[in-house]
Amino acid sequence: MKRRKFEMAAVPGNAARGVDDRFQVATPLRRLLNKVFPDHWSFLLGEIALFSFVILLLTGVFLTFFYEPAMTEVVYNGSYAPLRGTPMSAAYASSLDISFDVRGGLIMRQMHHWSALLFMAAIVVHMLRVFFTGAFRKPRETNWIIGSLLFWVGFLAGFTGYSLPDDGLSGTGLRIASAIMLSIPVIGSWVTSSVFGGEFPGTIIISRFYIAHVLLVPGLLLALIGAHLGLVFKQKHTQWPGPGRTNGNVVGERMFPRYAIKQGGFFMVVFGVVALMGGLFQINPIWLFGPYEAWVVSAASQPDWYVMFLDGSTRLMPAWEINIPIGDGYVIPPLFWPTVVLPGILVGLSTLYPFLEARRLKDTRSHNLLQRPRDVPARTGLGAMAVSFFIVLTLSGANDVIADKFQISLNAMTWAGRIGLLVVPPLAYYVTYRICLGLQQHDREVLVHGVETGIIRRLPDGRFEEVHQPLSAADGHADGHGALPYAGWVVPKKMNRLGALGPAIRGFFYPIEKPAEAPVSPGHPPVEPRPEREEIGSGESRR
């Protein structure tokens, strides 16, 4: 009997058939492979957050192998000589060990911290993109809410993680957090005492934060991120207006292979940048802060950047204490307003914004086309207001450092922040609004009159005027050309954008190909201006 020949080439086909027989994946897989994504650089900001989250999971798992979430007092006996013999918590000692006695531990810790900062930064920038382009409008309000929740859950993840090393700086942060909980009217002391298991700091908070940081909060983040991406997938991505792009279609690339390859490459770039930062830039050098001791703090104690706005609001808050003279008397401390009420208002405003705007504009339609910020001056102004509010608070969170470095009085900095917080946002609104209107007007002007060419022509009567290149063909308009309607997308404003510049020649030191669009034939001179460009001239006679 003849042995059947084993055909190597048939293996993938047979395997694929076998899989499809069992799971019927051919159709859904085709849909996935074919899904079209619109492309624009600003759609990649959210991905940075996603990729940082993956890096956080990878480096975080490594850290858990060495970290000990306990507040039992130990005497440090590791490699870092300046702290040897110091009593400290096991959590701090194991964090020092990760930094000094675990091979490659420090870079993992620093990559973890950097990617956490990047995660929050990417979330914020992505959120600004979504806000300013109107991507949050119907049907995407749910995803906007999930996104803003992601910021606050990320905030929680950041804060719990920041507290884990139990060093001098993070312990101070924890102390402030306990004071914030205490400040809540009626239930404050109960909340604090329950969270800390007694009086601050107690002996259990680090273990509780640990399980929150490695299980509960990441689980929540994972669920929210899953829902966020699922909705993007289901509702399809928004797109900028442009040729062929309508509210009812998606113009872009199919997901595979080019789009997916670019995503993969981008992930690797983000990962690489985080690795470089983790290796080269020091972050949170806990060994310099020492163990947490309730009576030690140093000047210039700043939290991570995304907490600084709350620190700033706390610093700017005037000492307004509300006393309620019933019985022994009750107090609402000034700390309550900037740290509990303000974030509450911010969460409420940000989640409700899509509905507020839709209600104001009586807008119930679905929007899949993005808007340029200049075309919606009121929203852009509000966004600028929010950003300037955040920036004033963040700067105030570092007002002691600014005061010190620039030799300004600390009290003056505080007052500047207090006044700035009230004055700067409305100013930002007004200025942004006017800038938007100006940009709109300029777009219209170019559409009507054409692009400035930079060529000055002298008329027979001696006047000078600038030559404009109209964007549309003549249609009997007074200037000899027609006006184009504004399409919600970039209007070319430089001659180079209209092809006035010759074709680029590829190659770094020498051309690698002959320029394609310069046909040289014996009958024609090598460079012949195209007839439609005749209109632009220096005024010299060509004939």
Binding site: R258, M268, F271
Partner: protein, 363 residues
């Protein structure tokens, strides 16, 4: 796959193509697949001609990115294994361990990243595809069907006709929800006023009435002569674990005021009926800021102000540590002190005001 199609409008009703028909190219099948998903590939254009100089050059670039990755990753492993990594004080080659790991790892990852990106962006054909969104197109029928199905289910359950079922189910489920919450709340909840802990610090006299000594961070008691005029020292209760986070609310700042300041301070004390809280020119104030609990520890000798570095509250020591700037609304509690028979500082009693950040039921 170097086809270029220009087909701006999508045919609406279309017979599916027979993909097993002879003579179809691979791209024909791909395009048919896309059409079945309401995608029209309207533009598909190679960026480089096959076999061209540009293609060879790009291939070389991408290959060198990948090779760079291999090189950097190998270097990472070599550094990881052989470079001295243990910490030693001063400067040594160990200081370069983490930076070298970062650079090699970063270059390795960036190499893959840029290699893949160049491959995808420069070498693969450019395309423009248009996919329909299908929003709200077919919904109306389905909406009616789904809605009716759900209403039908509700009717079958018959809660409307048999209200007792619904009420009893709710009545039964509510306690189950409470059961789920009970262990969590019950386990976590902690009475904040146990042992009067929010109003009591380590300086409270011992049970036999013995007054608690003021000690330094190393546990040694303090004599008046140990602190020079204008000087200050952080003091702790001289009890077990007095110098630890177990008594996080206790630490105080013992300040030796100069004569004129001390007189002013005493007058302020008299006004507040705190006469006798000072001993000589010495005064002790809680170090725990009444705002957010940070140690208010930056003492400015010239102005007698104590600054909290966390939120910049400023307290005027000579006026009962009254807050004069910043977000703090309450003065730092003063610790009444005296000197015992052996010449060491002791606390006359505990703080007479609540120490630390404010809360609702603070009297």
């Amino acid at each position: 796959m170097t086809t270029q199609t220009e087909r701006p409008e999508i045919p609406r009703s279309r017979q599916p193509m027979d993909v097993q028909a002879p003579g179809l190219s691979q791209f024909d099948i791909v395009r048919e697949g896309a059409r079945r998903d309401d995608i029209e590939i309207v533009h598909y254009e190679p960026q480089v001609a096959p076999g061209s100089k540009a293609e060879r050059r790009l291939t070389r670039t991408i290959a060198s990115f990948f090779l760079l990755t291999g090189l950097a990753a190998t270097a990472f492993l070599a550094v990881y294994i052989w470079w001295p990594w243990e910490y030693s004080p001063g400067s040594g080659s160990g200081k370069w361990y983490t930076p070298l790991l970062g650079v090699t790892l970063g270059v390795a990852l960036l190499g893959i990243g840029f290699g893949i990106l160049t491959w995808g962006k420069k070498l693969l054909p450019k395309e423009v595809s248009i996919q329909d969104r299908h929003e709200g197109a077919v919904a109306s029928d389905d909406r009616i069907i789904t809605g009716q199905t759900m209403l039908y289910m509700a009717d079958e359950l018959g809660v409307k006709r048999r209200p007792l079922l619904g009420i009893s189910l709710l009545a039964g489920l509510a306690p189950v929800g409470a059961v789920a919450a009970a262990p969590l709340v019950g386990g976590l909840i902690s009475q904040p006023h146990k042992n009067n802990q929010m109003f009591r610090t380590g300086f409270a006299p011992a049970e036999n009435g013995e007054k608690i000594r003021l000690v330094r961070e190393d546990g040694r008691p303090i004599r008046p002569a140990d602190v020079s005029a204008g000087g200050q020292v952080t003091v702790f209760p001289g009890i077990d674990h007095g110098v630890s986070n177990l008594h996080a609310d206790s630490p105080a700042l013992l300040i030796h005021l100069r004569d004129s300041d001390a007189q002013e301070s005493r007058r302020a004390n008299e006004r507040e009926k705190h006469g006798g809280y000072m001993w000589g020119n010495f005064a002790a104030f809680s170090k725990i800021c009444t705002h957010a609990g940070c140690p208010a520890s930056l003492y400015e000798q010239q102005t007698n102000r104590l600054l909290c570095p966390c939120h910049q509250s400023q307290f005027l020591i000579t006026d009962n540590a009254r807050p004069i700037f910043g977000p703090a609304s309450r003065r730092l509690p003063q610790l009444p002190i005296e000197v015992d028979s052996e010449g060491y500082f002791v606390a006359k009693s505990d703080y007479t005001e609540t120490v630390g950040p404010d809360f609702w039921e603070r009297p």
